[in-house]
Symmetry: C2
Subunit: 318 residues, 2 copies
């Protein structure tokens, strides 16, 4: 982030008509956004939500409460404006882009082979990167992909260690035997790829998914273009896990929109050194939690931009 | 709240294109709002923020980091549009009303006598009630009053017991010796009024303040008119404490906007049986935290109103 712009935003916060620090995280958000937008008064005129979608070979094991056809059905629902993210992105003033990636080609079963070959993984990274250009004020990343909390758990375990119990949760609502199967699938995946190189690319390619890889690509492009990012939940965080394990500062341009109800999300955010803005017990994905956070970010910037200073307002400082 | 409208809103949530319960507190908010607005699809077309302001005799003891003149200076700042609440109410689409109450007449020193006589207290209650009319979709209550965290601590202690250490915090930023003085002022107030009747009216009158009593009046009027309320922080919660101690269900039409950084706020919300929507380390008052919460409420209602059902969207239910 740009240090002079951060400093200018911090100096402005100190002069606004309120006790120093009394807007708490709203002040942090304003300073964060100033640094990445490289202006002392950040704005969200051009905010974009991008929802990547992909399908997963491991759905054959029954790891989700929903059938894999729902990925394409929900993409159609996004296109018609009927999903939560349509309403929530609208409420937060974000443009919505939906990017389905080869939905008719689920990833391979990563308990026995890599989810993607190298070309497929590179294509997904590029699709992600192409969703971002310089001049965006805020980028919300979200996803849709039946089965993708299983891939996310495998990414976390391969990146940060632990076992499947640490990383596997209910996702859209699988329980009982389904949850046991999900854990077993993750352990099989970890074992299958145990001797592969522990690079971010290989981890994403082997146990990720197309929409997850695209999120990683978009996040990297956002960094290149100085675009601040707000993340949705567990799967989005897992997309960063292989990169953050290799280079922790890769999350510097990222705000965690919320803590989801998915059990492992808190543990993951700690590993990513991110503190969530919201904790609303949400677990939908598709960018929904991040979109609510974007409304809070907009509030933070409104206060930063519009408030009077002590001198301007003739208010006695404490 | 209206049970059929709550039930209709709950039934609608169950049909929307998402796993059941996956929008977490956004679903609860929609159902809550439906019950109090008495319609299955609640809206915030007429949302109002009301900020009451008053002055406090106990500022003579140095209980605040700011001089008492700041109350009137900040009211002028509100009128000119330069305060945090102007920006945050605007971002949340709320109309803002500022109601200063007899700023040139600070309350009496409640360590030695009641803060208000009966007529003064009734006037403040009525001023609060008059700020609310039927047909409002949402009412945000906030306050401004240098010294009012001291009154708030006394209200909490007189309502819920404990000692001054439990209820006194830094407020706008008092520390060290000032904090000791503040605790002592609260203990003196409790002792002074120990033998007075423990009714809500007497507690509000003796250790409250005009803006605090007005908040209680507005909250009661909102209940009468079925207007859902979102509260700001510690002082607003303290305004309800005497009433909630006498009748816990009085908070049923209230959402706690946020958990503030004021140390005792979490303890107070537990006693009020309210779970805060946000935790952003804010401690400004003037309705600021509640206004950010109002933006979240708006997001919740947008999802509830605009989303397609599984049947409409042709999406397979789980």
């Amino acid at each position: 982030a740009d240090a002079p712009c951060r400093a200018a935003a911090g100096a402005r916060q100190a002069q606004l008509t309120k006790p120093a620090g009394s807007l708490g995280r709203l002040e942090e958000i304003a300073i964060f956004m100033a640094g990445w937008q490289r202006r002392a008064r950040p704005r969200v005129d051009r905010g974009r939500a991008v929802i990547f979608a992909g399908n997963h070979g491991v759905t054959r094991y029954g790891v989700s409460a929903f059938p894999p056809e729902v990925t394409a059905q929900m993409v159609a629902n996004f296109a018609r404006g009927g999903a939560a993210i349509n309403a929530l992105a609208g409420a937060a003033g974000l443009d919505l882009r939906v990017v389905p990636i080869a939905l008719d080609q689920p990833t391979a079963d990563f308990t026995v082979e890599p989810a993607m070959n190298e070309a497929e993984c590179l294509i997904a990274l590029n699709i992600g990167a192409e969703a971002v250009e310089p001049g965006l004020d805020l980028l919300l990343l979200g996803e849709m992909g039946i089965g993708n909390t299983t891939a996310a758990a495998a990414l976390c375990q391969r990146s940060f260690g632990g076992n499947a119990t640490d990383w596997v949760g209910a996702g859209t609502g699988v329980g009982g035997h389904g949850l046991e199967v999900k854990r077993e699938v993750v352990e099989l995946a970890i074992a299958c790829h145990a001797h592969a190189p522990a690079t971010p690319f290989e981890t994403l390619r082997r146990v990720g998914g197309r929409e997850i890889v695209a999120i990683a690509g978009a996040m990297l492009a956002a960094r290149l273009h100085h675009v601040p990012v707000v993340l949705d939940g567990f799967i989005c965080g897992a997309a960063l896990a292989p990169l953050a394990a290799a280079m922790p500062s890769i999350t510097d341009h990222i705000l965690a929109g919320h803590l989801s109800a998915e059990a492992a999300h808190g543990r993951l955010l700690e590993r990513l050194c991110l503190s969530p803005l919201l904790d609303l017990d949400m677990r939908l994905g598709e960018g929904s939690g991040g979109a609510v956070a974007a409304a809070v970010i907009r509030s933070a910037l409104a206060a930063h931009d519009q408030m009077a200073t002590f001198v301007d307002a003739g208010v006695s400082a404490g």
